[in-house]
Symmetry: C2
Subunit: 238 residues, 2 copies
DNA sequence: TTCAAAACATGACAAATATCATGTTTCAGA
DNA sequence: TCTGAAACATGATATTTGTCATGTTTTGAA
């Protein structure tokens, strides 16, 4: 029996996340090209996938796990600008605009992430018009949600933003088997860095939600008890 | 002499903004297709170019003028999420993602805006791989600046955000002949809706900047007197 | 030119939220 | 299993910023 810890990276054909990725309808031959050139790495909490200010040399693709994309200000405070899950790609924004990374990326939990060299990615883009269209759609969706967040940050109080963040997490990462507990367990600090507020404020508001029987808390696990009230608290209308 | 007010729309070949637009290197024949199918309209302050929730039927292209793209919350408060100028296209985000418009667009000053039907735009996308790449780059840039704004809204006080907004306006719309006055004259309210704060707060802070000799104010015209101090006030480091 | 509406301006005050301090609990590594 | 560090929690307080009120100035349309 082998001692090596290195996780086996599946062939792209067998990738559990392929069907929900941008490569879902890529012809076998093209997929082979990716598979041949790709590398893979298991990232643990505390490691970084890439750093702001460094040059992108390829595209990351999440086999399993959950990832945060974030910025850091002078005082060291994080702001999470985007989240990603299995099947999602990372680093396409900087790769396409030909710039240095403008954010950091790090796993929220142990994550297996493949790496596709930039030359391979760009040659796929050239030959596969459909792939371009998919990238454009991802960028469009990202831009839409980013602009929604700008408006929310400007116009909504923290309480509403936190409630909305819980709903977004539910939507994005899904629920556990009990159909009520969020499928992702963020620290209070990470949650604060999503919402754009102080950690203490998130702690206080979560306690309020719990007192109001809207959620239940068990460590980092958040269970939605009263979805209707949560939607009302988020004050969503569009 | 003709009485009609209708402004003559130039042929795309002669469009003053073509060289700085995504169509700058399109072959003559393709440009002819656009020109043949396009319409044009002069929009004045108070009119809308498109509305959130309506279906995009084509792409807008600014011949001259300045445009704001904004959202409105329940209480009727605007948040400006993006700005545009001559040569820029509008409405590509929703068009590409195949959704209803997620924002409003309106001119900041009298603007001549052409309209390219969606079928024409999509057929250009199919045949012209270079155009796809340009759209991707625009989306990437928009996403980058949107994510920067998210971080700023979360982490920076209003004073710094306002100073940064003035620098961004300077960069984006340029300066007048005196090399100091911003090339765009926003109302205090529009400026507040860019920064994401109350109109009164913008008025107060602009007065402070004037007292500190950083800017001079003449109606809606803002003249930058001390660029260095403005950069310091914006507290930019990246 | 006039006049009403919009924009600008400023003060007083209230509300939301950050910060600081302190203590407890949880968790991961030795 | 132990133990130190990180995460969680809560109170007290300070600060920022929004809101409301009021008055002035500017602007654009008749």
């Amino acid at each position: 029996m082998s001692i090596r810890r290195k996780i086996d990276i599946p062939h792209c054909e067998d990738c559990a996340s392929r069907l929900c990725s941008i490569f879902n309808d890529l012809p076998s031959e093209e997929l082979g090209k990716i598979n041949h050139s790709k590398g893979g790495n298991l990232y643990k909490r505390g490691q970084n996938i890439f750093y702001e200010g460094t040059r992108p040399s390829g595209l990351y693709c999440i086999n399993f796990g959950k990832v945060k994309i974030y910025k850091i200000d002078q005082s060291g405070k994080e702001q999470i600008v985007r989240l990603a899950k299995a099947g999602d790609v990372l680093g396409y924004r900087s790769l396409i605009s030909g710039e240095l990374y403008s954010s950091f990326a790090a796993p929220l939990e142990d994550s297996l992430i493949c790496f596709i060299p930039r030359t391979v990615f760009f040659s796929l883009l050239q030959t596969n018009a459909n792939l371009s269209m998919k990238i454009m759609k991802i960028l469009s969706q990202d831009l839409k949600s980013a602009e929604n967040r700008i408006a929310n940050m400007a116009q909504k109080p923290v309480r509403e933003r936190l409630a909305e963040a819980l709903l977004i997490l539910r939507e994005f990462y899904g629920l556990e088997d009990d159909e009520a507990t969020l499928g992702v367990a963020l620290t209070r600090e990470d949650l604060a860095n999503v919402v754009g507020t102080a950690t203490e404020t998130v702690i206080r508001l979560l306690s309020e939600f719990r007192e109001d029987k809207i959620i239940a808390l068990k460590g980092r696990k958040i269970k939605i008890l009263d979805h209707i009230s949560l939607v009302k608290t988020a004050n969503i209308f569009d």
